[in-house]
Symmetry: C2
Subunit: 297 residues, 2 copies
């Protein structure tokens, strides 16, 4: 059965040693691993985090954080090199923490969270971005492969990046990269960009390395419009055995002027909903395996 | 039957007299009205646009364009006043063009398209934004009511604004405004932010003034994951007889690095898909009226 995890941001950001007491609680809610943001250098001591995770019986999967200063697809050499260096550093963190995956929008070029508006891109620049992504991810992938870590490239919705927003766009990049680089699909972004989530999962097929099981509105899985039976059946169809992580940090607060794009700490104890979502997803996966009309390809 | 319209941006942006030849074509594709961006001052002559629309047999609904310089909810008096003045100007344009609705994110505060990243907002500032929205929309509404024009306030997804993203947030604002101000709901934004589109439509009820019938991915309606039977049944339930407009300008181009948030002109002749989408929506509305288990409230 696929391991099911919870993102550290559900509770706190940044997440450090002062939050170690949360780890047994996360385990107790039914999660198998913690999805942890790659720490900035010196943010916390990796060995103590690894120890705390092991004591709680939790695995770990790393999520990389890019920005315009470390940006594989930048037209400028400085940020481009910093982007490659950062991914290598993230791989080293993964080794130190015991994660075999580093995922996220590894190609860079953030939009809204970097305060960047969508702007026209020439065909020459579009092709150059492709080549920079291949070169940068290729360099990081060699470092990752030597460490037995895989890179999971995440398509983001149109407002968060202008590089890859669908599985199809992601697979175009995958064709130019070794099998140690794969895709991370997130049903929040898919709900916005894909015509069919199931088709997107089938398109990724064996290149799917990590799945983030988020609702369309980023509330608790099972409270929105994501077609979970179709999603889990497609995951079973393609033989996906990797991690599924939850990032339901929208918070239940829908007053005027509350921004859903701005991270906020929990407003209430969410334990029961988190526990229910983990169980819900586990049961969906179980049922997907029992579905009668599964494809056999 | 609700009038069904198409946004002018489907073909060109800006849309002016050089595009008048498109108007009979739009009518011929099965559309009843044009959704037109409020022209900037001097952008085109309003009387000639009105004449061209009438000759093509098309109605018109106006969509307002806000930015940080004309921004009802701004903390600064200048942009705030410019926001009110702009809405009054938009109402005057509506009268000149023959539209009885001015819709859009009238409250202002754009995020990604203004190159603004989500930032924390204090509780005092959140409440101040509410009051500024009420004051600004109230002032514009008085001008609009005198002209028999209604203002339709549109919730946008979390990446496009930090003011209103759901029907619930919108209705909180509606409680403080006269009935000449209502809501514009867009199923693209709803697909991201609402737990249930049908519930959101029921929540808006008689305050719903305009509906934008867009797919989750902004492709042609009927090619994505929006639950059209549930949406149209909810529209029928609340007795909605207003306009439905289509804005499917994503374009069919999913190569690496193509940004879906960046407006682009058509890449191919889209007439048959536009015609099919208009018919599809009309038939859905027809079927919704024939649905057996409609609520009677």
């Amino acid at each position: 059965m696929n391991p099911i995890g919870l993102v550290s941001m559900q509770f706190a950001r940044p997440f450090g040693p002062e939050h170690f007491a949360l780890l047994p609680r996360i385990k107790g809610l039914g999660f198998d691993f913690l999805e942890l943001l790659v720490p900035e250098k010196g943010e916390f001591e990796l060995a103590s985090m690894r120890r705390a995770l092991a004591e709680a019986g939790l695995g770990v999967v790393l999520a990389a954080r890019v920005n315009l200063q470390r940006n594989l697809t930048s037209a400028e050499a400085g940020p481009r090199q910093a982007g490659v260096d950062y991914l290598k550093y993230a791989v080293d963190c993964a080794v130190a923490l015991g994660s075999d995956i580093v995922g996220g929008p590894l190609y860079g070029n953030p939009l809204v969270y970097a305060g960047r508006a969508p702007t026209p891109v020439s065909e020459a620049e579009r092709l150059a971005r492709f080549q920079r992504s291949v070169d940068g991810l290729g360099a990081a992938a060699a470092h990752a492969a030597a460490a037995k870590v895989r890179l999971a490239v995440e398509p983001l919705n149109r407002f968060e990046t202008d590089i890859i927003s669908t599985a199809r766009q992601g697979m175009e990049l995958m064709q130019a990269l070794p099998p140690s680089v794969g895709l991370l699909l997130d049903s929040f972004h898919m709900a916005m960009e894909e015509a069919s989530m199931a088709e997107a999962i089938r398109l990724a097929g064996p290149r799917l390395l990590h799945f983030q099981a988020n609702e369309n509105h980023r509330g608790f899985p099972g409270t929105g419009s994501v077609p979970w039976p179709a999603v889990t059946q497609a995951l079973v169809e393609v033989g996906y055995t990797g991690p599924l992580s939850l990032e339901p940090f929208r918070r239940r607060d829908e007053r005027f002027g509350i921004s859903f794009a701005q991270w906020r700490p929990p407003q209430e104890n969410e334990d029961e909903s988190l526990r229910a979502s983990a169980r819900f997803l586990r049961e969906q996966l179980h049922l997907a395996k029992a579905a009668p009309s599964r494809r056999t390809n």
